[in-house]
């Protein structure tokens, strides 16, 4: 049985197991560089596994205070972690996907730079960004959300620059920095406006239902909600704000691209879900806000799906194509959120989970291509999948999964999104989404043909153990969820019951 652990001690051990690897690796790097670079991946794997096993204690909806010593700090609502079913689910799959991505990063150091790299510092910064993301998922108030958002953003700016002198990486980092800092300023302004209107920074729906909003303040409330949603959708690569995504995913190293697309983008989706479900008592009281939000999100989601699909048809680079497909799927998730029903949110959460696993799978195969050929242009990697089936079969599985083939995981979540749209009676967005998925067939099957079916007569290439293990784990999870999704469905049912409690006017 699960040994008993009080919530206060749990949160302390959990946060410790997330801060510890970065501090330990940084100190070890100061002490002895060789030792740090050899043992950094193992250390980070150990602490990630520890944090992942601690997520079984994440029972829903508690406000947890943090024991910093033997004396309890009597903190108010600003210092507590909010552990609710949605945050717990996101935390779980973030830790799972990061564990698998770190397994895929366990190999040669020549990959990370031309000469000697800074692998130890890179793992340290990776763990700090992971801490930022998890604290976004577990934050109980807007200030902690903003502070951990900034922590995540700072670490991601530097992770793009893994090879310092490479011009493409510097350019991608600058482009990402420009847009992301702009969105941070908008986030700050939106949080300030929400604070002015509601008078509190909390994200607890039960506390917000006691807030009364005068009719003259409604416009400011709408402006605050729209500004924070805009800032979160910068991160999730939704269309007017998606221009950083292809450049960043193409230019950075493949496992880090996997990290950005599978994990960091989901923080944006989670932010939108969190803001809407926390402010739901105010949104449902005032009908104008609900209509505005629905129309805005539907418009952004549909344009992002169309633009991403049309741009992806013209791509010659595999990572850039995967970036556009990420934008497509983020638009799809936003379409599920725009229903504003419990089933819509649950479908969005489930699709984030499946998309994270599948994109991690696809980007880790790109890592193999980068190690072998140095590039992921489609004409340079022709036939590698056929020649080394150990890479070709997971790649084919990943493409089939993201197409929505039944028996694999994304089929279930896409079906759930369609079901949520039908239940919310949004038939026109539903038909446009199905049209977009049909267009997506063209740009998924073409790389599949080029890499896995065509023949190219060359010698067999070397395989890396970390990549093979990570691909094997991800393929088995994809097939397992596609065939036997019941444990995940139990968890999603908890989320649905929890949302039904919140989304009724309280």
């Amino acid at each position: 049985m699960i040994p008993s652990l009080t919530y206060e001690n749990f949160s302390l051990v959990f946060i410790f197991s997330l801060i510890a690897p970065s501090v330990i690796i940084a100190i070890a790097r100061v002490v002895s560089r060789e030792w740090a670079e050899r043992y950094a991946p193992i250390t980070s794997l150990f602490f990630l596994a520890l944090a992942l096993t601690l997520t079984i204690y994440l029972n829903p909806f508690k406000l947890v205070s943090l024991h910093l010593s033997t004396v309890t700090i009597k903190a108010g609502y600003l210092s507590k972690l909010l552990i609710d079913p949605i945050g717990a689910f996101f935390t779980f799959f973030t830790l799972l996907t990061t564990l698998i991505i770190v397994i895929a990063m366990l190999h040669t150091r020549g990959y990370y730079s031309e000469g000697k790299g800074e692998i130890a510092l890179m793992f340290s910064i990776l763990h700090l960004s992971l801490l930022g993301i998890l604290l976004v998922y577990l934050s109980s108030n807007l200030l902690m959300l903003f502070v951990s958002w900034e922590l995540m953003s700072i670490c991601i700016y530097t992770l793009i620059l893994a090879r310092r002198e490479h011009p493409l990486m510097i350019e991608a980092s600058i482009k990402y920095l420009i847009l992301s800092s702009f969105s941070s300023a908008f986030l700050l302004y939106g949080i300030a406006l929400l604070y002015m209107v509601t008078g509190t920074l909390t994200l607890n729906p039960k506390a917000i239902s006691t807030v009364t909003v005068h009719t003259s303040n409604i416009k400011l409330l709408i402006l605050g909600l729209i500004l924070t949603s805009i800032a979160f959708s910068f991160k999730a690569a939704i269309v007017p704000f998606h221009t950083w995504a292809p450049d960043v995913y193409q230019a950075s190293l493949a496992p880090l691209s996997a990290y950005f697309s599978a994990i960091a983008s989901k923080a944006g989706i989670f932010g939108i879900i969190r803001i809407i479900t926390s402010y739901w008592p105010l949104i449902s009281r005032i009908g104008v806000i609900k209509n505005t939000l629905t129309y805005t999100f539907t418009a952004m989601a549909l344009t992002s799906m169309f633009i991403a699909n049309i741009s992806a048809l013209l791509q010659e680079n595999l990572k850039r194509l995967l970036a556009y497909s990420s934008i497509n799927h983020m638009g799809f998730t936003l379409l599920a959120i725009s229903c504003l029903t419990p089933l819509g949110f649950v479908a969005a959460v489930f699709h984030s989970f499946n998309h994270a696993l599948t994109k991690a799978l696809l980007f880790i195969t790109c890592e193999h291509f980068e190690l072998i050929k140095g590039t992921t242009n489609l004409k340079d990697i022709t036939g590698i999948g056929r020649r080394t089936p150990t890479i070709g079969v997971p790649l084919a599985l990943g493409f089939l999964s993201i197409l929505g083939v039944p028996g694999l995981n994304c089929f279930l979540s896409e079906y759930l999104i369609f079901y949520a749209l039908v239940q919310a009676k949004q038939y026109i967005p539903l038909s446009l989404a199905i049209a977009n998925l049909t267009i997506a067939l063209f740009y998924y099957l073409r790389p599949l043909n080029i890499i896995c079916i065509r023949r190219q007569s060359e010698e067999k290439s070397r395989l890396y153990a970390g990549i093979v293990i990570a691909l094997f784990i991800l393929c088995s999870i994809c097939i397992l969820i596609g065939v036997y999704p019941k444990p995940i469905f139990n968890w999603l049912n908890n989320i649905k019951i929890f949302l039904e409690q919140i989304l009724t006017l309280k």
Binding site: I19, S79, L121, I125, G199, S216
Partner: protein, 154 residues
């Protein structure tokens, strides 16, 4: 309160000067003025802790940081063409009017805060956020070391 109005006018004036000045050192000087005037505004309303922080960090540390970078770079500013400038001005004007109209008739809600002093809130209520802030400091040091590593770490 006339002092508050004059300070706000000076803040707006320095912001517009940052936009207009092409020499980066002059623009930095007007940024320094803007930060200092905001700090004086905070001190005027008896917000001592916030005012000192604003003056020490914005008018102090960040200005010196900018100066350090500007001594490396030594460049003049170039602008985009006329179209982008008009686009920028139109967008700015739109956002200003939107937020201005949204604010009309604003009545302050009942704030759910306890009116205690700033230190007790910082050290007691926001303890976890202070720990997060120290982590941000630690991570920004690590990040800067990672970014400029070839000059510093041998």
């Amino acid at each position: 309160m006339i002092a508050a109005y004059i300070l706000c006018a000076l803040i707006i004036a320095s912001t517009i000067m940052v936009y207009y000045l092409k020499n980066l050192f002059h623009a930095l000087l007007s940024l320094l003025f803007m930060s200092t005037f905001i700090g004086i505004l905070f001190l005027l309303f008896k917000a001592y802790y916030v005012g000192v922080f604003q003056l020490a960090i914005y008018s102090g540390a960040i200005t010196i940081l900018f100066l350090a970078i500007l001594f490396f770079v030594k460049e003049e500013e170039e602008r985009h063409g006329f179209k982008m400038m008009i686009l920028g001005l139109i967008l700015a004007f739109l956002i200003i009017t939107l937020a201005f109209l949204a604010f009309k008739g604003f009545t302050y809600p009942h704030y759910m805060v306890r009116g205690e002093s700033v230190p007790s809130i910082l050290w007691r209520d926001m303890a976890l956020i202070l720990i997060l802030q120290s982590l941000i400091l630690f991570s920004s040091i690590l990040c800067v070391l990672f970014i400029v590593r070839e000059r510093i770490l041998k």
